[in-house]
């Protein structure tokens, strides 16, 4: 596979909003990609490569890695009736407490700065709490573990509706 390139000018850093995660609040066949991270100031995908190393008898160190387990936290995730992803998760986690459904969520990470996206068809979305400070907003922080079949592709955005469409690579 050819290396990806960044579509930004050399010498210019990349805005954080060029990397966005979406949750499928529709169906697998007809996905509706709803944004994750509204009102979240800081969130990063963490890569655990399960590294190990050993030194052989001739003194050389050998390392090994495995495919990463990618996790990401989003908080505070202040509830808002206009935030489709949060309403969706609220119903499955707080109302239904449907653990099986929450362990099988369809997520999309869009790398806008490099023109590609990755879909994780069976990710785990854990709602870790519901509440917040007195006088503040009601928050519902979540932890995501991306998983299941990983499909690379591209996205297009409907100029009128803003709807995201993911197209897998051939």
């Amino acid at each position: 596979m050819a290396d990806k390139t960044f579509n930004t000018p050399a010498g210019q850093t990349i805005a954080r909003e060029q990397l966005i995660a979406y949750l499928n609040t529709g169906t697998a066949a007809n996905p509706v990609w709803s944004i994750l991270g509204t009102r979240v100031e800081d969130s990063s995908a963490e890569y655990d490569w399960n590294t190990s190393s050993k030194r052989d008898i001739v003194g050389k160190t050998h390392g090994s890695m495995r495919k990463p387990i990618v996790t990401q936290s989003f908080e505070p995730c202040e509830l808002d009736s206009g935030e489709t992803a949060l309403v969706y998760l609220y119903n499955r986690a707080i109302v239904d407490q449907d653990a099986q459904a929450l362990a099988h969520q369809d997520l999309l990470i869009v790398h806008g700065y490099a023109g590609w996206a990755e879909r994780y068809a069976s990710s785990m979305v854990e709602v870790t709490s519901l509440g917040g400070e007195g006088g503040g907003d009601l928050g519902m922080p979540i932890n995501v573990t991306y998983g299941g079949t990983r499909t690379l592709g591209t996205v297009s955005v409907d100029s009128q509706t803003g709807a995201i469409t993911f197209t897998p690579d051939a």
Binding site: E17, L19, I35, T38, R39, D42
Partner: protein, 150 residues
């Protein structure tokens, strides 16, 4: 010359939003039925009037990973009048305080293109802020308007 931008320096709001906010806030203040005069923008006649002044460039309080932000618009509402005694002087402050109370309680009726109002607050009551040789006095109340751009 040290041009380092530190984390403690505030990030200013998009100019389009700044302009929209000023126009919207002034127009909205003028819907208050008990104001003593029409609220202008950064100008006052020599003897009597009201005006809105921006005390610092609107700045971001929080920046979100999706590109949106929470911001603050800091402004003074000034009432210029020529009181003839202390009672009239106090009435000027009371008038401003009532208008500021209305603003705080009716924050959700303010609309700014491209933004959502979260809260209007003030930290201090109206006060005499300036006096002029013609006897005119400026009474001022400071408002902070918190809004969100998604």
């Amino acid at each position: 010359m040290d041009t380092t931008i530190t984390n403690t320096e505030r990030r200013t709001v998009d100019v389009d939003i700044q302009i929209a906010a000023s126009r919207a806030i002034r127009a909205w203040l003028n819907t208050y039925s008990d104001k003593p005069a029409t609220v202008g923008m950064e100008y006052l006649p020599d003897d009597y009037g009201m005006t809105l002044t921006v005390t610092e460039t609107p700045y971001k309080l929080k920046s979100y990973i999706g590109g949106g932000y929470l911001a603050a618009y800091e402004c003074d509402l000034i009432y210029r009048t020529i009181p003839v005694n202390d009672d009239e002087r106090m009435t000027a402050d009371e008038t401003l305080n009532e208008m500021a109370n209305w603003a705080v309680q009716n924050a959700q009726s303010l609309t700014i293109d491209g933004a959502t109002i979260k809260k209007i607050s003030r930290q201090a009551p109206a006060l005499l802020s300036a006096r002029y040789s013609n006897g005119a006095e400026d009474h001022t109340v400071h408002l902070q308007i918190i809004f969100e751009v998604k």
